[in-house]
């Protein structure tokens, strides 16, 4: 053990379980070709997964422990348009928009790595616009629930008080994630469009140079926020 030589990476197989073992047994980097920022984002998202899991577990527990019937969510979240009563219409649109924004984000990452800064930046701004419209619709949804349906965090006319409390808490926490994402998307998009990455201009806060890996790191976060929404959608609106 004492003076073993860590193997030459070229001797190791490039795929399968053996390459996994080789990576974990190697020196310097466990995840080869993964930048520090990307590794950090993955680990952060793992931690954030536990936050949302705890929220959703809490929601399911109180839904089971409450003694009052749960409101029918497809009725509560219905819109009446031109006389037609359509359940879950707004949520369907919101979900569609958020998932589309994942598409534009993925394209931004691709153009980023091709160093096409104009297209990359514009796609990021489109992603941010999708995200902002999602938050806007969420504000509309909250307003409608609070003003028209009379739902409050501590109670509502339709049934269990926990309906309002879990709804505002979980969608609110998700909405904060989307909003933070929008802010950072705009910041990174401006950085890309100004050419700060090519010029190697130091960042405003950290004083360090950026690179197009930032776009991908940003994208990881954005896809995660989308994925979480799918779970919230399934557990909250469809159950």
């Amino acid at each position: 053990m004492s003076t073993q030589v860590p193997g030459n990476p070229e001797d190791f197989p490039n795929d399968g379980l053996e390459s996994l073992v080789a990576d974990w047994a190697s020196d310097q980097k466990t995840f080869k070709n993964v930048s520090w920022g990307k590794a950090m984002m993955w680990i952060f998202l793992l931690s954030d997964t536990f936050i949302f899991t705890s929220f959703l577990t809490g929601y399911m527990t109180v839904r089971m422990s409450t003694t009052v019937p749960w409101p029918n969510s497809s009725e509560v979240f219905a819109l009446t348009i031109a006389g037609n009563h359509i359940p879950l219409l707004l949520i369907a649109i919101m979900t569609f928009i958020l998932i589309s924004s994942s598409g534009t984000m993925a394209m931004a990452v691709k153009f980023g790595y091709e160093k096409n800064r104009k297209v990359c930046g514009i796609l990021m701004l489109i992603t941010a616009a999708f995200g902002a419209s999602f938050v806007g619709m969420q504000i509309f949804e909250w307003t409608k629930l609070i003003v028209e349906e009379g739902v409050r965090p501590w109670g509502n006319p339709m049934g269990a008080a926990q309906f309002g409390s879990t709804f505002f808490m979980i969608t609110g926490f998700h909405g904060v994630h989307v909003s933070i994402g929008v802010i950072f998307l705009v910041i990174v998009a401006v950085k890309v469009l100004r050419g700060s990455i090519e010029l190697g201009r130091p960042g405003f806060l950290t004083g360090r140079k950026g690179n197009y890996g930032m776009v991908e790191t940003m994208g990881l976060y954005w896809h995660f926020v989308d994925l979480v929404w799918v779970f919230i959608f399934a557990f909250f609106y469809l159950w």
């Binding site: 047994a25 310097q28 931690s47 809490g58 422990s65």
Partner: protein, 592 residues
């Protein structure tokens, strides 16, 4: 290095990690206040944690005064007593031990031991400290708000923690929860740094299985923290909403002071599950760094390689994984389904296997070692004793039928203070005596250190051994006064008085330690770069204390594991990790 025929760099693969962009400030404020150097951040973390820890130590002294000499001190009333209990527990567990092990030792040792210039995200690392400081300040502020701090016990169980009648149920609990949320945010920033640095920024030749066990312990503890703190964060937010907006997450329909409250349909047991899903891994967040550090202390000061290095690593990983499936053993009397008790008792006893394995390996490392009874070694051996004691009572409490009668007695207090308070604190002292020469360039005074060790070690036994007995008598914990209770004999009071005297003695003795820390900083004997003749990279830096960037112009290249002590045929009884293979002995070099 001249005269070596082989190309030494051929033994390490080419560099994959890019040279880190370091920001070298020129001003005093940039260097020591808004510092992005992990070593300065580590010292900031440590001083803040020790500062708030002294507050918690004083609180425990006041509690002991009340218990040992009831009806003597008029300034301690029942609600103040409960507030001291709460703040003592919370500060010690979260703000002292977690912050000191991970923020303090983690920041100082991870980059140095991995052979990195700094943490991978120095700016985030700096923010981590300042958010932690904010959390501490919010916590301190709760002493001064109307109603004082919360007095609901460190577990903050609802409903009582937010109902009228519990001390600090207005401002105290709100500030407590906000402070915890900030602590978690700050910790997450630091924790991401520690993990990515270990995984992605090691030196050339430094494989995971060549890392010192200190890094392994801190690394695994950080993973636990990043996965466990979310549950606490969520329960803090939910309880804040219950308190401020009147939601009913944790609050069932409830009568308080003869009035029906607006709460309805919540689940108090949900809080306990969320809290202990955090709370049990938290035990190992504190214990794993202690395990790692003590492994290195024992190996270095016994001049012997650690026994079963791979086993030790896998035991750390196994303990970490198992710690997530044992949480409800804190809840045997909560009214949950008894079948859960069976499951959680089984997992709890399984976790004793890797833990016992580590203890055997420490003992086997000592066996026939060339033991140097330095102060760090004394503390390390003291830890092994104390940890065995605390671990054995853990077997009692892990079994449902034994736990139920012992729940909420002084037996529980004795158990977790042995295993989670005294043990890690002994390691912290040992680690400070061990690494102080690297941090300051001066040795701590040996005589004072030995006095500090024996007084602390024997003193803590005088405190906690009798508590086991009190627990068997059925003396309940968290009580302000026992009053006239039939099943508690008169003599229990005498035991309590003696415990108090021992506790005050141990508390005051710590002044010797602080005196030693301060005086040795100015007058201590110069230590040189490697006073303990250790192999790990932090002792091989060109400067002591290491400068920003740690390793001078060239990063070290690692050729061997961290435990090459007393290798047969080598000139010295230790071979640094960065010493090339052909140079282990002068004779080899001459032959070429």
């Amino acid at each position: 290095m001249t005269g070596v025929a082989h190309d030494e760099t051929a033994y390490a693969p080419p560099s994959e990690v890019p040279e880190e962009e370091l920001y070298h400030p020129k001003t005093f404020i940039g260097k020591y206040i808004w510092s992005q150097d992990a070593k300065v951040i580590a010292i900031q973390y440590s001083l803040t944690a020790i500062g708030i820890g002294i507050v918690a130590l004083v609180l425990s002294g006041i509690m002991r005064l009340q218990l040992g000499f009831p009806d003597t001190f008029s300034f301690i009333d029942p609600s103040a007593y409960l507030q001291y209990v709460t703040m003592h527990g919370m500060i010690m567990v979260v703000y002292l031990l977690t912050a000191l092990f991970l923020g303090g030792f983690g920041n100082y040792l991870i980059p140095l031991m991995c052979g990195a210039r700094d943490m991978v995200f120095p700016y985030l690392n700096m923010l981590s400290y300042w958010v932690y400081l904010l959390a501490v300040l919010i916590l301190v502020a709760s002493f001064f708000v109307p109603g004082g701090t919360t007095g609901s016990g460190w577990t903050l169980y609802p409903p009582q923690s937010i109902l009228q009648g519990t001390p600090g149920s207005n401002w105290g609990i709100i500030l407590m929860l906000v402070s915890l949320a900030f602590f978690i945010i700050g910790f997450t920033m630091g924790g991401l740094n520690y993990i990515v640095t270990v995984l992605q920024a090691r030196a050339r030749g430094m494989t995971l299985m060549r890392l010192p066990l200190t890094v392994w312990g801190i690394f695994m503890a950080t993973i636990l923290a990043l996965l466990a703190f979310p549950a606490l964060f969520v329960s803090a937010i939910m309880m804040l909403l219950d308190h401020t907006l009147g939601t009913s997450f944790f609050m069932p329909a409830i009568m308080s002071m003869g009035e029906q409250l607006d709460y309805e349909g919540g689940s108090p047991v949900l809080f306990q599950h969320l809290f202990w899903f955090f709370g049990h891994p938290e035990v190992y967040i504190v214990a794993l760094p202690a395990f790692g550090i003590v492994s290195d202390l024992i190996s270095i000061h016994a001049r012997k390689n650690i026994f079963g290095y791979r086993m030790m690593v896998w035991a750390i990983i196994a303990i970490g994984a198992l710690s997530f499936v044992v949480w409800a053993h804190h809840m045997y009397v909560s009214g949950m389904n008894p079948l859960f008790g069976f499951f959680f008792a089984t997992t709890t006893l399984i976790i004793a296997i890797p833990t016992a394995l580590k203890v055997y390996n420490w003992v086997l490392t000592l066996w026939r070692g060339n033991i140097r009874l330095t102060v760090p070694m004394l503390f390390a051996i003291g830890f092994v004793f104390t940890f065995i004691n605390g671990g054995l009572t853990g077997l009692f409490l892990g079994n449902v039928v034994v736990d139920v009668p012992l729940s909420d007695t002084y037996f529980v207090v004795a158990h977790f203070h042995m295993v989670m308070a005294v043990s890690p604190v002994l390691v912290i002292f040992g680690a400070i005596y061990h690494w102080y020469p690297k941090i300051t360039g001066r040795m701590l005074n040996d005589t004072l250190g030995k006095f500090h060790f024996w007084a602390t070690f024997l003193g803590t036994y005088a405190i906690y051994y009798p508590m086991h007995y009190l627990g068997f008598l059925g003396v309940p914990r968290r009580y302000y006064a026992m009053g006239n209770t039939d099943f508690i004999p008169e003599s229990a009071q005498a035991v309590n008085a003696s415990i108090t005297i021992a506790a005050l003695f141990v508390g005051v003795i710590q002044l010797v330690f602080f005196y030693n820390l301060i005086v040795s900083y100015f007058r201590g004997k110069a230590s040189g770069g490697n006073p303990w003749e250790a192999t790990t990279l932090e002792w091989q830096t060109p400067d002591t204390p290491p400068k920003h960037g740690n390793f001078g112009a060239e990063l070290p290249i690692v050729y061997r594991w961290a435990y090459d002590y007393s290798v047969p045929g080598a000139d010295l009884d230790y071979i640094p990790q960065n010493q090339p293979p052909k140079q282990t002995s002068q004779r080899d070099e001459d032959a070429q």
